[in-house]
């Protein structure tokens, strides 16, 4: 072989310290694989909807994110929380457009989200949590109701929030939604579900595995360079393609081959599409992991028509919310990151003209105890969530806000608060906006029938 002189692209970009921050994907100019133009413009630019799940791993202490401001209620809150309480005067006052039984304020690190709330672009849903049927304190104490498995255990509650199933053979609700709406997307190779944070139950278990991408975008295969016309690359790819195509008797080898094949093929397609549209201009805080991931989501959304996608569900997970210790320092940092990253993400959807087509929502393992363990909080149950986008009936607080006194009817001990809205209701409302029919919703969320409101009303329809 005379002309054998392989190159190794990509590495040069990678080995700098900056590599951990978002970097653009390297492009290979001689890439010859033709992008399938049939994907572009299917269904017109208007028919697009995306859900973006921002999962706060560890259990967000939302009782310090949305806090009562009326004098009496704040005193109760402060008496329960003591050294962890946020002073009343530091709260950012909210003036909900709907009637709420008390005044509430947002965490002091969330001024931009407060503005989005005031502008009607963001709403809060009170005391959401994992339930199988409506549960009162007496039901809980007397074991009169069925409960999700292993309350207070991180992974079990994450799995339940993400799948709303108690069985071991779980399928995530985003995956179930995607199975029903698969035909909507012209591109059948790229999964409707995309994850910026690797494996998650939310998107897993259905016909398509979620596609995993990093916040730096898609890397080329440095030693394969599919599409490079040089002989070394053509031959090496051909040999490797042949290995991947061989039938494997071992189930794990089959899974490996499938993942590698998908990764190589989709990598080429995605890089091409992302390079074609370029990254959006809106500034994101470069040091924030959450912002880097959301920035990549926005880039993917920008490439939606190139990729032939009309419905997409993105998963973005961010850790360190398990604030058992040093909460007084750690939680404000997290709230600050959430404030900047979510606001930038909202702004970029405006830049892309899709702020009414993209709905961002938070979820978490569980809420936290109202009481303090000295410098932090422990695993709780119900918790508040945020939804953001022009599709949201914004500037409102939905659901029932709990009492924050220890020993109240909402408390099962140490300020673990029984949820008054189930994750099924929260999810089903989002699913309705996303485009599932009522019968599809009933299919995806079977326990929804146990609750009164199948639609919490926080999304605009039509």
């Amino acid at each position: 072989m005379k002309d054998y002189k392989p190159s190794m692209i990509g590495r040069r970009n990678f080995i700098r310290r900056s590599a951990l921050a978002a970097v653009g994907s390297s492009s290979f100019s001689a890439l010859t694989t033709q992008f399938n133009l049939a994907h572009a413009q299917v269904g017109g630019a208007d028919d697009y909807r995306a859900l973006v799940c921002v999962f706060l791993y560890g259990g967000n202490d939302a009782f310090n994110m949305l806090v009562p401001r009326s004098l009496g209620a704040h005193t109760t809150y402060a008496d329960t929380r003591r050294s962890l309480a946020i002073a009343r005067e530091d709260l950012l006052p909210l003036n909900p457009a709907n009637s709420v039984p008390a005044d509430y304020g947002l965490h002091p690190q969330m001024p931009d989200l407060k503005n989005l709330f005031d502008d009607g672009k963001l709403s809060l849903i009170g005391n959401v949590g994992t339930l199988i049927e409506p549960t009162l304190q007496s039901d809980y104490v007397n074991k009169r109701v069925e409960l999700p498995p292993q309350l207070f255990s991180h992974n079990d509650q994450q799995n339940f929030v993400m799948s709303l199933q108690s069985n071991r053979n779980r399928q995530g609700w985003a995956s179930r939604m995607a199975d029903l709406m698969l035909d909507t997307n012209a591109n059948q190779n790229l999964s409707m579900n995309i994850t910026l944070s690797g494996s998650n139950t939310f998107q897993t278990g259905g016909l398509q595995a979620p596609y995993a991408i990093g916040s730096g975008g898609v890397n080329d295969y440095w030693s394969l360079q599919p599409g490079n016309p040089e002989e070394w690359s053509v031959r090496r790819n051909a040999a490797y393609d042949a290995l991947l195509a061989q039938s494997q008797s071992h189930l794990f080898a089959t899974e490996f081959a499938r993942t590698q094949r998908r990764s190589i093929d989709l990598g080429v397609e995605l890089r091409q599409a992302l390079n074609a549209v370029g990254a959006p201009q809106t500034a994101f805080d470069g040091s924030s992991r959450l912002a880097s991931m959301l920035r990549m989501v926005s880039h993917l959304i920008a490439a939606r028509s190139q990729l032939g996608m009309k419905r997409q569900i993105f998963f973005v997970g961010i850790g360190d919310y398990d604030t058992h210790g040093d909460q007084i320092n750690r939680h404000p940092t997290l709230m600050n990151e959430l404030n900047h990253a979510l606001t930038s993400f909202y702004n970029v959807t405006v830049e892309l003209g899709v702020s009414d087509k993209v709905t961002t929502f938070t979820a978490s393992d569980f809420g936290r105890t109202l009481t303090s363990n000295g410098d932090g909080t422990d695993h709780g149950w119900g918790s508040h969530q945020m939804v953001m986008g022009d599709g949201v009936d914004g500037g409102k607080i939905f659901g029932t806000m709990p009492e924050l006194a220890i020993g109240s009817n909402d408390d099962i001990g140490e300020g673990r608060i029984i949820p008054t809205t189930s994750v099924d209701q929260y999810a089903a409302t989002l699913a309705g906006w996303y485009g599932l029919t009522p019968s599809q919703i009933a299919e995806v969320f079977p326990t929804l029938a146990n609750f009164n409101d199948a639609d919490l009303g926080f999304m605009h329809f039509g």
């Binding site: 042949a242 899974e255 490996f256």
Partner: protein, 617 residues
């Protein structure tokens, strides 16, 4: 002084356990029969096997790797090394083969080998890099310290002599998880290095001692917030922190539901699993774990830390310990008025006495070393050893590891489970096996001006990229869960694959890239480009495979592929796969040395990237 006494007590308990374990091991108490695969074609008539009670077998004639295909003993030796080390090397395969596959003696030697210490190595490495290990103020250098720590981990995993000990320690680090991805362990490289040394020290010790060492370790203390955990104070409306109590039970000892010794979930009369503990028990353990603070803290509310804060075992401050009675597992009550240490000892005995510990830990260790889906019988056999090493000791990890590796199910592939036995290789193990097979290390500048260089295995950023690094898991739930099985996967077969949880497009691309770069940096013209770019801030060295004998073997395609097949794949490469690789390398001229290198590298790359190599069988 009290603290010193405590450390001495711990150490002496450790040595007693160790010597007990050794005696038991020498008595052959492994709980399972040692298979005796007969060498097929060396004509020595050796009976193989290595039971130390047999007369020493006549050693088989030495063979080259390329001659080992079809030789059952040789292939069992390479499989064993895949399970027991960070990857087989030519010299290890030959040595173990020539000992007739005397795995017992090999394990004895590994147990006796001096543990390689990470902290010691890190301190020396930091000094060489111009960093004062004990200067805690250089916070902005956190990433450098972690990078230097990563160097030492990779050096030990790839080149360390105490392979089995490190492999077990790495497995234990995936049960007793701490991670520098959490800001709780920011700037704590030395503490994490020391934590790994605890895994290493106890890898063949007793699980109860390890549990105690972990419980009192300040890095675990920070990670799961047991440090500074205070008793109930009504005036401040505070109560004990439940974090360590809960995760210790869920992840380090007994799990959430009751298990049989064979690992199966026990069902109650109502047909449902039986929870091992409830919120009241969690609260009781939370109270037990109150009153502990850094080993060098002058007083409880000390807001500072230095040097040994991150490495010394925590010490009790009785005024902050909850002295009420506590009702633990199985209704055991700790009386009021005990000291922090008395409560902790009794509580760890309580949880360690639970019948779940044996199957819970044994199954996970089997999964890390041998197979994702052990049969119930395999788990039960290891649980039995865990519960009693033959001399009545529970928790003897040396006996457990020995039994796991020597069990019939580990040693002999059953036709019934061929398609599911083994495990997807963890990314770290895929890289270490490549690096060990081909002697990977490279000179790396240790100072910004390049004035100090050292051979090391710098492979820091890649771990972020492909999704697994020692002590870099996303949470205390490790990189993957032991029961990971996506719905609808595996065509409905009832199998789990923990490692599949981190096999996705992003990670597989990155792994492919870093494997490719290690293989193809063996080409001067690619390595030169890499080295031009290399500097202190590079998070990865220009690591390259040092092909040695392979270049000569490449004169003959069959010999090269036989050799690589034995070295990398325990001789298990399929005919179809081999044909593809043979066709691919044929056009390179076997008479030209440079082209022979291309043959070796192309073949190695394709094998390393292949679906067949992806599975440890």
């Amino acid at each position: 002084m009290r603290l010193m006494g405590r450390v001495v007590a711990l150490l002496s308990r450790f040595f007693v356990a160790m010597s007990l374990a050794l005696m038991v091991a020498c008595g052959g108490g492994g709980g399972s029969s040692q298979p005796a695969p007969a060498p097929v074609d060396n004509g020595s008539g050796s009976s193989g096997g290595g039971g130390s009670t047999n007369p020493p077998p006549a050693p088989p004639e030495p063979l080259e790797l390329k001659e080992m295909l079809g030789n059952e003993l040789a292939l069992d030796v390479t499989r064993f090394l895949t399970q027991a080390t960070f990857g087989p090397t030519e010299s290890e395969i030959k040595a173990l083969y020539e000992s007739s596959g005397d795995f017992e003696t090999w394990i004895d030697d590994q147990v006796a080998a001096a543990p390689s210490r990470i902290l010691e190595g890190l301190d020396a490495h930091m000094q060489a890099s111009g960093l004062d290990p004990l200067n805690k103020r250089n916070l902005e250098l956190d990433w450098q310290k972690r990078m230097l720590m990563s160097d030492i981990f990779w050096e030990r995993f790839v080149h360390g002599e105490d392979q089995l000990r490190q492999r077990v320690a790495f497995a234990l680090s995936q049960i007793f998880v701490i991670s520098d991805l959490s800001d709780a362990l920011f700037n704590d490289a030395r503490g994490i290095a020391n934590y790994h040394d605890i895994m290493t020290e106890h890898a063949f010790g007793n699980y109860r001692d390890l549990l105690e060492a972990v419980t009192l370790n300040p890095m675990m203390g920070e990670y799961l917030s047991m440090v500074r955990n205070e008793k109930t104070d009504v005036s401040r409306n505070i109560r004990p922190d439940e974090n360590y109590a809960r995760e210790m039970m869920q992840l380090f000892t007994i799990g959430l539901v009751e298990l049989n010794d064979d690992g199966a979930v026990r069902l109650g009369g109502d047909g449902n699993p039986i929870p091992t503990y409830d919120q009241e028990i969690t609260k009781a353990f939370a109270s037990v774990f109150t009153g502990w603070m850094y080993g060098n803290a002058p007083y409880w509310y000390w807001a500072d830390w230095f040097n040994e804060s991150t490495t010394l075992a925590m010490k009790p401050f009785e005024a902050y310990h909850d002295t009420e009675t506590k009702t633990l597992l199985n209704g055991e009550v700790l009386p009021a008025g005990q000291t922090a240490e008395q409560d902790l000892d009794a509580a760890l005995d309580n949880v360690f006495g639970h019948q779940n510990v044996a199957p819970f830990v044994s199954k996970q260790l089997i999964q890390r070393l041998v197979t994702s889906n052990p049969s119930p019988g395999y788990v039960a056999r290891i649980s039995a050893v865990f519960n009693d090493n033959g001399s009545g000791e529970k928790g003897d990890l040396e006996a457990v590891v020995r039994a796991i590796l020597l069990d019939d199910e580990a040693r002999e592939l059953s036709p019934d489970t061929r398609d599911t036995f083994g495990k997807l290789k963890e990314p770290v193990l895929k890289f270490t096996s490549l690096m060990r097979a081909f002697h990977v290390e490279a000179f790396q500048p240790l100072r910004e001006d390049g004035s100090v260089e050292r051979e090391t295995v710098r492979f820091f950023w890649p771990g972020y990229d492909y999704g697994q690094r020692p002590y870099g898991s996303p949470s205390v739930f490790n990189f993957y869960r032991p029961d990971y099985k996506p719905a609808n996967a595996f065509g409905g077969a009832d199998v789990v694959s923990p490692e599949l949880q981190i096999l996705n497009e992003k990670n597989i691309t990155a792994a492919s890239n870093w494997g490719g770069s290690v293989v193809f940096n063996s080409y001067d013209f690619l390595r030169d480009g890499c080295e031009e770019d290399l500097d202190f801030e590079a998070g990865v060295g220009c690591l390259y495979a040092k092909f040695e004998g392979e270049i000569e073997l490449a004169k003959n395609t069959d010999e090269l592929l036989d050799h690589l097949n034995v070295l990398m794949m325990s001789g298990g490469m399929s005919g179809d796969m081999r044909a593809v690789i043979a066709d691919h390398i044929e056009p390179f001229d076997p008479n030209d040395e440079q082209q022979r290198l291309y043959r070796v590298a192309e073949a190695t790359y394709l094998m390393w990237m292949s679906p067949e190599f992806a599975v440890q069988r």
